[in-house]
């Protein structure tokens, strides 16, 4: 089976020697094309580290990351930048948009950087579904947090990336806005065949996904297809355990 993204024996160590922190300790996991995966785990377990390594944002200590079958750990910074620009989309918890650009320019930024034109139909469809049609000329400072996050989502999708990574995309939102964002992520998987990998702390959010991967101490400890919120809640360690 060809994965959109795959990690093989991934190790990530921050720092050197005794002071080094082993954030990822031999992670092997694949993400199918058109799948919506949630990554869960206690704070400090290595979720963000995994995401950064998978997305080519940070260098790995050892192991491989394959995006569309290509090992990106072997690429130069220049090539890696190209991969991020053309094949990967991002949604972050905060600071998603450039303050000086309008919403529309923010959405097309990766395409502008690549010197590509946006697919008009796709752009119109995405903007329509996200309810951003009348907000395109606004700057981020004039948008609500939920709207900003939806602009970031639109940006991640119009470039038609291989995979969209989202690190706690609902972390800064109220539950209603968060739900909207999740619903849209779902829609993008269903109707555009988009691959999505999302880190979240929220079992409700994770329950929207097709699959939940649980991380603890830099290792994958569980992999659940079609998880339910209750199932996930029961797996979560009691608060303050870590």
């Amino acid at each position: 089976m060809v994965f959109a993204v795959e990690a093989r024996a991934l190790v990530k160590v921050y720092g050197k020697g005794d002071a080094g922190v082993r954030a990822l300790d031999g992670v092997s996991v694949g993400f199918e094309r058109g799948g919506f995966t949630a990554i869960m785990g206690p704070s400090g377990s290595g979720k963000s580290s995994l995401l950064h390594c998978l997305a080519g944002l940070d260098a790995v200590t050892s192991g491989q990351v394959l995006v569309g079958g290509v090992d990106i750990t072997a690429l130069s910074d220049r090539e890696l930048t190209g991969v991020r620009r053309d094949r990967i989309g991002f949604v972050f918890q905060a600071f998603n948009l450039l303050p000086q650009l309008t919403a529309a320019r923010n959405i097309t930024l990766p395409l502008d950087l690549a010197g590509r034109r946006a697919d008009r139909e796709l752009m119109a469809g995405v903007v329509e579904v996200l309810g951003l049609a009348d907000r395109l000329d606004h700057r981020p400072a004039e948008l609500s947090g939920g709207q900003q996050q939806r602009v970031a989502l639109a940006r991640a999708l119009v470039a038609r990336p291989e995979v969209v990574f989202a690190d706690e995309p609902t972390g800064n939102l109220d539950s209603r806005s968060g739900l909207e964002v999740l619903r849209f992520l779902r829609t993008s998987v269903r109707s555009f065949g988009q691959t999505v990998v999302m880190v979240t702390h929220d079992p409700e959010a994770a329950a929207c996904a097709d699959r939940a991967v649980l991380v603890a101490d830099g290792r994958i400890v569980a992999d659940l297809p079609n998880p339910s919120a209750d199932q996930l809640r029961s797996l979560r360690p009691p608060a303050g355990a870590r």
Binding site: H52, D58, R78, T81, F92, F95, N96, Q100, L113, G115
Partner: protein, 814 residues
């Protein structure tokens, strides 16, 4: 509490030394310039005193006359015979006229020729020993085409050249010979006697006893000084001349110090804005605004102190280094002193300047509402609106500027206001304009940015990102661009002014010296056959003959010439040849005849149509330029020939002159080229010096661009990380940040250009010299382009740092 606030701020400096460097950098550079100028003056004064000193080091006693009476040969002999005197020489410089060559003369300088009291060194031949003999320096030998053995014809006879010497680089044509020969040639005696004593003791005794020997009757008022005192007086004299130069330099340095204060203010504003959350938090937990202001002022003082000390120490080091480099390059310069008092003064000045610069940003920052602790800093400098107070101030200054210009222009064209008051008014207007620009900067920057960034935005995404980055913080852009504008406006005004001046001087010189040389021929002038021969000579070009005649101009009389302007390149563009029946008049001639272009003027027997009126005199100070046919009717003089040298430089001239002498025997030949090269050289030299000094202001402005860009990079780590995550390459980040720096330069250059050109024109008009208003577009574009490139280069270091920002930085949540 106050102490606690200060402690938090100062510990902030300690943890972020980079910021200290950035905020203090402009002050540091300013201190470097001020103290450097001080040291340079000191070195220059001592060096010129050494170079120009007419008193050799070996001189122990200097006798000089006061008033008209000179020392006689007999008195000199008595001095020589005095016990304790090892050597005594009479010092005299006399000027003798050379025969034939118009207005040229030879300066005959007395010198013993050898020994410690001599200032020259024999190169070839022998040093003169008797009457009628001289040695010349090598430059003079070339000028007069003489060597050991040849003769120089004087109006009063002839001298024989016995040798060629190396002499101090003095101007003019000079000959050296023993004192009695020099005195005899000039028909004069000695204003001064230099004495070398047999021993230091003898020197002291001589100082007190000599006047009795020289002048027992005490009829000649004289002064007796030690050689050291004479040299000290020369140093003082050199210093006085230097000070005139350094007063000018000081003016430019003051402008740069002002620019440094502006840059420091802008930088502190940015730094405080970045710390707004921290300051707001202090307010939230109960710090009073006054306490914050005090803490920030103390911080400014610390920055000023550190920057001042660093600048002074760096200048001192650079002074030593410069002297060492100059010495290894063969220029003897004295080592700089260590003027502690001046250094301390500069440091105190730095502290005061920095505290003044930090005041406005400190009050602004102290107003931080506690709520701002919960806002992001990037939204603060994005404000392009300015307070009502600032707006009113800017508008008032703008109105004042426009008003003073209107008053100035309204007073034209009156003959009565002297240029000075006009210029003073203009200086006020310029300052008011600049003040208005500072006040209204944030409002002005956006439209200017939109205009100058058009090509960037149009053609590249990175370019529009850079434009967005600059536009997102208009206050910041205004802070630094205004300083760039100051430097550019000054440079542009200088260039425009000089180009007008050059055009004016060129025209004037073209009239005074239309060709390299002029030959009058024998009594019958230069005949047609000789002119033809000259035309055929390979050393000469543009050979043309002309004649002159006296004409009555109203009640006065003036010179008329039939020179063909088309024959000489420098006149071709300035004058058109009058056809028969036409005349070109000098301004004064037209005025006194009461005629203008197109009207008829009567010159003696002639009645002519005025073809043109010149702004000044005609060629060779003539009043009228006529056609040859008309000049015939006035009784023309014998023809005279003008010609240019084909070869360049001194050799070309000498060859050309010799050719004329050969082909037109017995003629006088004058080199007109001398006057021209001298005058144009002066203008070019002045422009170079002025631009060099204005470079100081630009240097400060560039420091401002660099620091602003660096702070902006620091503040936008998240944004840069996001761009990297979204696929902007490292090179793209570098280009973006360097472009932002270049845009600061471009905004400043555009503003400077728009302000500098009109002010230069106004200044040129206010001087009312008839200097034309020119627009040297080429040079101005070079200045603008150079500035944009330099500004972009100043952004390279921050750009390089920005490129190292990891894309992960975008994900870091505060």
């Amino acid at each position: 509490m106050s102490a606690a606030v200060i402690r938090t701020q100062l510990s902030g400096i300690g943890r972020r030394p980079g910021r200290l460097v950035l905020t203090g950098l402009s002050v540091l550079v300013a201190c470097f310039l001020v103290f450097g100028a001080f040291l340079a003056r000191d070195i220059a004064v001592r060096a010129t005193a050494d170079a120009l000193s007419t008193t050799p080091m070996a001189t122990d006693v200097v006798l000089s006359v006061r008033g008209g009476t000179l020392f006689s040969a007999e008195q000199l002999a008595r001095v020589r015979a005095t016990p304790g005197v090892a050597e005594a020489v009479g010092r005299v410089e006399s000027t003798v006229r050379l025969r034939g060559v118009q207005r040229s003369h030879l300066t005959v300088v007395s010198d013993p020729g050898s020994g410690p009291l001599s200032r020259i060194r024999l190169v070839s031949g022998a040093y003169p020993a008797g009457h009628g003999e001289v040695a010349v320096d090598s430059r003079t030998a070339g000028r007069l085409s003489v060597s050991a053995g040849s003769r120089i014809a004087l109006e009063s006879g002839e001298v024989r050249v016995t040798g060629v010497v190396d002499a101090p680089a003095d101007p003019g044509e000079r000959a050296y010979t023993p004192d009695f020969v020099a005195a005899a040639l000039g028909g004069t005696e000695y204003p001064r006697i230099d004495i070398r004593a047999a021993s230091p003791v003898a020197a002291r005794q001589l100082t007190s006893g000599l006047s009795q020997v020289v002048d027992p009757g005490q009829t000649v008022p004289m002064s007796i000084r030690s050689g050291a005192a004479a040299r000290a007086a020369e140093v003082k004299d050199a210093a006085r001349q230097m000070d005139r130069v350094f007063e000018l330099i000081a003016m430019f340095v003051v402008v740069s110090v002002g620019a440094a204060a502006l840059v420091a203010t802008a930088t502190f504003r940015i730094v405080f804005a970045q710390r707004m959350r921290q300051l707001a938090l202090l307010r939230a937990v109960g710090a009073q605004p006054g306490q914050l202001v005090r803490a920030l002022l103390v911080e400014g003082a610390v920055v000023g102190l550190v920057a001042g000390v660093a600048g002074v120490v760096a200048a001192q080091g650079a002074g030593y280094l410069a002297v060492v480099v100059a010495r290894s390059a063969g220029t003897a310069l004295p080592m700089p002193d260590v003027p502690v008092g001046a250094g301390i003064g500069v440091v105190i000045g730095a502290v005061l300047l920095t505290v003044a610069a930090v005041t406005a940003p400190a009050f602004g920052a102290a107003k931080a509402a506690p709520l701002q602790a919960f806002r992001t800093s990037s939204t603060l400098s994005a404000e392009s609106r300015i307070g009502a107070y600032r707006l009113v101030l800017g508008l008032v200054l703008g109105v004042a500027a426009v008003g003073s210009v209107a008053v100035l222009v309204g007073s034209w064209p009156s003959t009565e206001p002297d240029g000075d008051s006009g210029l003073a008014l203009l200086a006020l207007a310029a300052m008011a304009t600049f003040g208005a620009l500072i006040a209204l900067g944030p409002v002005v920057v956006r439209p200017v940015l939109a205009a100058v960034s058009w090509p960037l935005r149009r053609f590249s995404t990175v370019g529009s990102l850079a434009t967005g980055g600059v536009g997102a913080a208009p206050r910041r852009a205004a802070g630094v661009s205004v300083v760039v504008a100051l430097g550019v406006a000054l440079i542009v005004a200088t260039i425009v002014g000089t180009s007008g001046m050059t055009a004016y001087l060129d025209a004037k010189l073209a009239m005074r010296a239309p060709a390299d040389l002029i030959a009058s021929g024998s009594d019958a002038g230069v005949d047609a056959a000789q002119v033809a021969a000259l035309r055929g000579d390979p050393a000469l070009v543009d050979v043309t003959a002309f004649r002159t005649a006296e004409v009555p101009i109203g009640s006065m009389s003036g010179l008329a010439v039939d020179l063909d302007p088309a024959a000489l390149p420098v006149l071709r563009s300035l004058l058109e040849a009058p056809r028969p029946g036409e005349v070109v008049l000098a301004q004064w001639a037209a005025d006194s005849l009461g005629v203008g272009v197109g009207s008829r003027a009567s010159l003696g027997p002639l009645s002519l149509t005025v073809r043109a009126v010149l702004t000044a005199d005609g060629p060779f100070a003539s009043a009228a330029l006529l056609s040859p046919t008309d000049l015939d009717r006035l009784g023309a003089s014998a023809p005279v020939v003008l010609a240019n040298a084909r070869g360049s430089g001194e050799t070309g001239l000498i060859t050309a002159r010799d050719a004329v002498r050969r082909l037109v025997p017995g003629t006088d030949v004058s080199l007109l080229a001398d006057a021209r090269t001298q005058a144009t050289g002066q203008v070019a030299g002045l422009l170079a010096v002025a631009l060099g000094l204005l470079g100081l202001t630009v240097l400060i402005a560039v420091v401002g661009v660099g620091t602003t860009t660096a702070l902006s990079v620091h503040e936008r780590t998240g944004e840069i990380g996001l761009l990297r995550a979204l696929g902007l390459s490292r090179g793209g980040v570098r280009t973006m940040i360097a472009s932002e720096a270049g845009l600061y330069g471009a905004i400043g250059a555009a503003l400077g250009l728009v302000l500098g050109v009109p002010f230069a024109w106004l200044a040129v008009s206010a001087l009312d010299l008839g200097v034309p208003l020119t627009l040297p577009l080429g040079q101005l574009l070079v200045v603008v382009a150079a500035l944009v490139v330099i500004a972009a280069a100043a952004g390279l270091l921050p750009a390089w740092r920005a490129a190292r920002v990891s894309p992960v930085a975008a994900l870091a949540t505060e």
